[in-house]
């Protein structure tokens, strides 16, 4: 019996692998120590969909393909992040993400009602990823004008204005196993084989920063770029804290709870890259030895990468690093651009948001700052100050879309040129809004989250820069990829304010009291208007005692 069953299962598998032919799946792992105390681990799983029909799905998740075709999405980025990436200390990640949930997409120019498609898209994704993305609505969505550019290959003939772009972030969103579970199910090997088997939820949530993402874009399929393929990139970014894992020497068993049992059999390449650049300051030894060590020169910064090529039938591998005992004290050199954001003011009446952007480079850097304030935090553009000045020559271009209560957020974009070796402070004031009592969340006094600001930069140097160039898909394309300048989109830290709250327990009292006061006016006015003054004989004044006696007398009757 069981033999027969096995044969059927085998047949089933074979029939599956026949159809695999057209899609391409790659998995990559990038590990970079962030001295002194952290370790950056970045997984990326790339599925290239070469078939252009939506009816057949081979390696790529059918659900995502359907979403793309149904809502006519050109490009989609979704990240679910817990924790804050510290740019000043850690440098730049391969892909930055805002705390909480962040979703942005470009729709095809043929879409007539972008807002309706956006709403449906977010609702569908909320079901797919078990996240509250259905809270994305007109009142927290903006259409970025300058800060975001599609990563994919776009049709030259058509005009992709920002009206087809939508951006929303939910800073309150929590990220946990329930998001990782459906995310893993989109992978061809799910979590049973390959790099995804390392994603043990108990360990990866015990990090300083964890972010899962899905990025779908269109990539050129030939040199002329007359045809395109969909690229589905699923990413996981983790920052381990050596204090939490209790050791400065790391290994897969320590980080993920197990070694790696080969790559995913369906992947065309499974590679692990370990950044050895920090070896100079904090020397460590890798075990087992890498297959090769590549030196990459990119924009004036040298990077040493140790490469492991994992085959599906490789034996269990437990890559680890051992640090030599003589720990040198190292000073981290901040990246060319870093920033900080905080809220000003005390009390619950007026406040301000400050974004400090530091350019440590010797040349000016052009950036676009996108401030996105929710409707309950009305910012006043007239209070915008750059380094304390109302009129600043640093602003090259400005876009502002004022918010409307309960309808849409405040959206400000500033194209600025940051002078070399300087810190620029952007301050804007806001006023606290008093909401209706039913608009407050159940934990009203927990505070309200303000999303991150977006900073899109044109970096002149690739120092600390690890992003994949726009025309590349794998980490391999990073090697020696020098360009005149390097694009990067960063998210600042979020903030939190606590709005003034009414008394939630007494709506009836308030309604009654206010109506009583109205009645206090209505009564006398009604009397004045409808009655006239007359003299009424009052008789001899009676004493209080007599009055009480009279009262009883009446009762007897």
């Amino acid at each position: 019996m069981s033999k027969f069953r096995n044969i059927i299962f085998l047949l089933f598998l074979i029939s599956q692998t026949i159809s695999v032919s057209s899609d391409d799946f790659k998995e990559e792992l990038y590990i970079k120590p962030l001295p002194p105390m952290h370790l950056y681990v970045y997984f990326q799983f790339i599925t290239l969909i070469t078939g252009d029909t939506y009816e057949h799905s081979h390696l790529a998740p059918r659900s995502l393909k359907e979403i793309m075709s149904r809502f006519q999405v050109e490009e989609l980025h979704l990240t679910l992040t817990e924790g804050q990436w510290r740019h000043k200390q850690w440098g730049y990640p391969v892909m930055d993400a805002a705390p909480g949930a962040e979703l942005y997409a470009w729709f095809a120019p043929t879409v007539t009602d972008v807002n309706a498609n956006w709403k449906k898209l977010s609702a569908t994704l909320s079901g797919l990823f078990c996240a509250s993305l259905n809270f994305i609505d007109a009142h927290n969505t903006i259409s970025p004008k300058m800060a975001l550019t599609p990563l994919g290959a776009m049709n030259i003939g058509l005009n992709y204005t920002s009206q087809f772009a939508r951006y929303a972030s939910l800073p309150r969103e929590i990220v946990c196993t329930e998001n990782l579970t459906p995310w893993k199910k989109l992978l061809p090997c799910e979590s049973s084989h390959g790099f995804a088997s390392l994603l043990n939820s108990r360990l990866i949530h015990n990090t300083n920063y964890h972010s899962i993402g899905v990025h779908i874009r269109k990539v050129c399929s030939n040199n002329e770029c007359t045809n395109y393929n969909f690229e589905v990139k699923q990413t996981v970014a983790l920052v381990y804290d050596f204090k939490i894992i209790n050791s400065i020497n790391w290994s897969f068993k320590l980080l993920f709870g197990q070694g790696l049992f080969g790559g995913c059999p369906l992947s065309s390449s499974s590679k692990i890259y370990i950044d050895l650049t920090s070896n100079d300051t904090l020397p460590f030894k890798l075990s087992p030895k890498p297959i090769s060590i590549i030196q990459s020169q990119r924009g004036g910064s040298d990077t040493l990468l140790a490469v492991y090529d994992i085959k599906a039938d490789s034996p269990m591998i437990n890559i680890g690093a051992k640090h030599s005992i003589d720990n040198k004290f190292s000073v981290t050199i901040p990246p060319p651009l870093h920033f900080n954001r905080y809220v000003l003011g005390y009390g619950k009446e007026f406040g301000g948001i400050v974004t400090e952007i530091t350019n440590t480079y010797w040349a000016p850097i052009d950036i676009i700052l996108l401030e996105n304030a929710p409707w309950w935090l009305p910012i006043q553009l007239s209070t915008l100050r750059i380094n304390g000045e109302a009129e600043s020559s640093l602003i090259l271009k400005q876009y502002y879309s004022p918010g409307r209560s309960r309808q849409r957020p405040y959206h400000l974009e500033l194209l600025m040129r940051l002078p070399p070796k300087s810190t620029t402070t952007v301050t804007i004031d806001f006023e606290f809004v008093f909401l209706k009592w039913q608009e407050y969340p159940p934990d009203a006094n927990h505070g309200f989250y303000i999303g991150s600001a977006l900073i899109s930069a044109k970096l002149p140097t690739a120092k600390n820069y690890t992003s994949i160039p726009v025309d590349g898909t794998t980490l391999e394309s990073v090697i020696n990829a020098s360009k005149p300048w390097y694009p990067a989109v960063f998210r600042t830290n979020g903030a939190m304010v606590s709005l003034p709250t009414p008394d939630f327990s007494m709506p009836y009292n308030v309604i009654c009291l206010a109506c009583t006061v109205v009645a206090l006016a209505f009564g006398p006015l009604h009397n004045i208007c409808t009655k006239e003054l007359v003299l009424k004989p009052s008789g001899t004044p009676i004493s209080l005692r007599q009055r009480i006696i009279n009262l009883f007398k009446k009762k007897k009757d």
Partner: protein
């Protein structure tokens, strides 16, 4: 070529299902149920860290029904707050039913359908009655029919005749009864097994008037439903008594189990629960003694084996989209920064 392959796959799949299903047969002593599918609606209505135990409660039931065979797509799990990845949880991504960390009820494979602020009275009633907004994804809909057996489990803070949601609003027993009646009128269920673990829990099912509902509650009116024990590592009570014993019982149930519903109803005697477990049988037509527990907690489906030949007709191919006939357009990667704006201004 493609078609032939598809047919091959289909037949293989059907054969394999048939073979698997042979192994399971329904014990004779049980009354036959005419349900065709099983659903579960599991709701935790409490927010805030100190209500950790309610999340542990609901996840205990989730774990059991999933283990007994109800697929995630047919479980609607509503959790009001994040306990697993809460910053106060020293063991991220875990929720235990016991201070000795015996069972991680959260597990590695969990799908929460409604979470955080989404868990509201409105969403709960909409879910039950099926009156959800048009954009609602499948996983947030209760797509039941007249052949569905539904397990509804509620936990949170309750009072006489109401259950609090998120500490800010409440559903009354009458509203709940009306929602269930609406479900019955819309033929959205075959039978419902209703479990509630709150204080004064039995008050919530007293107003029910729709047929085919078996209801049980952790406490009678006037009684509190008590928690089991505190975990000093996290400083909060870790699970409620009733659900603790329910989980203990369900851990010993397997998909072929011959246990009956009446055994489940007696799972927590007064000396263990301290509160009295209430049961309402009058709306339920079958004898709980003769109802297998898997009618609600599992997903055992009656399988008819046929020896007749089945014609699998060739499915007509869908017409190709216009896409394929489209003239290839020239595409390009855009510069990742609006360089033209800078050039204009400088």
């Amino acid at each position: 070529m493609m078609c032939a392959k598809d047919i091959l796959q289909c037949t293989l799949l059907i054969v394999s299902i048939l073979i698997y299903s042979e192994a399971i047969d329904i014990p004779e002593k049980f009354q036959k149920s005419n349900h065709t599918n099983n659903w579960a609606v599991l709701v935790d209505t409490s927010r805030f860290w100190f209500n950790y135990r309610h999340v542990a409660n609901v996840l205990s039931i989730y774990r059991s029904v999933k283990r007994l065979g109800i697929p995630d797509s047919q479980i609607i799990l509503m959790i009001s707050d994040d306990m697993a990845c809460n910053p106060r949880n020293p063991r991220p991504a875990t929720i235990f039913n016991n201070a000795h960390e015996q069972i991680n009820v959260y597990g590695d494979d969990v799908e929460v359908d409604y979470r955080g602020y989404e868990v509201s009275v409105e969403n709960f009633v909409r879910l039950l009655t099926g009156r959800v907004p048009p954009d609602t994804p499948r996983s947030k809909r209760l797509l039941t029919d007249e052949g569905s057996n539904i397990l509804i489990y509620l936990t949170g803070h309750g009072g006489d005749g109401f259950l609090k949601f998120q500490d800010s609003e409440e559903i009354t027993s009458q509203e709940l009864a009306d929602a269930l009646e609406q479900m019955w009128q819309k033929r959205r269920y075959n039978e419902i097994f209703f479990i509630i673990d709150t204080c004064q829990a039995s008050s919530m099912y007293e107003k029910f008037y729709s047929p085919n509902i078996l209801a049980t509650a952790s406490s009678l009116v006037g009684e509190d439903s008590l928690s089991h024990h505190v975990d000093s590592a996290i400083g909060v009570y870790i699970i409620d008594r009733y659900t603790y014993y329910v989980l203990e019982f369900l851990e010993n149930v397997h998909p072929n189990s011959k246990k009956s519903m009446s055994e489940f109803l007696a799972v927590c005697p007064k000396h263990a629960c301290i509160s009295t477990v209430g049961v309402r049988r009058d709306l339920f037509k079958r004898d709980p003694n003769k109802v297998p527990i898997t009618d609600f907690f599992g997903s055992v489906r009656p399988v008819i084996i046929t020896t007749d030949s089945i014609d699998i007709i060739d499915i007509p191919k869908r017409k190709n989209n216009v896409n394929t006939t489209q003239i290839p357009e020239k595409r390009a990667y855009l510069p990742q920064f609006p360089v033209h704006l800078i050039q204009n201004t400088v």
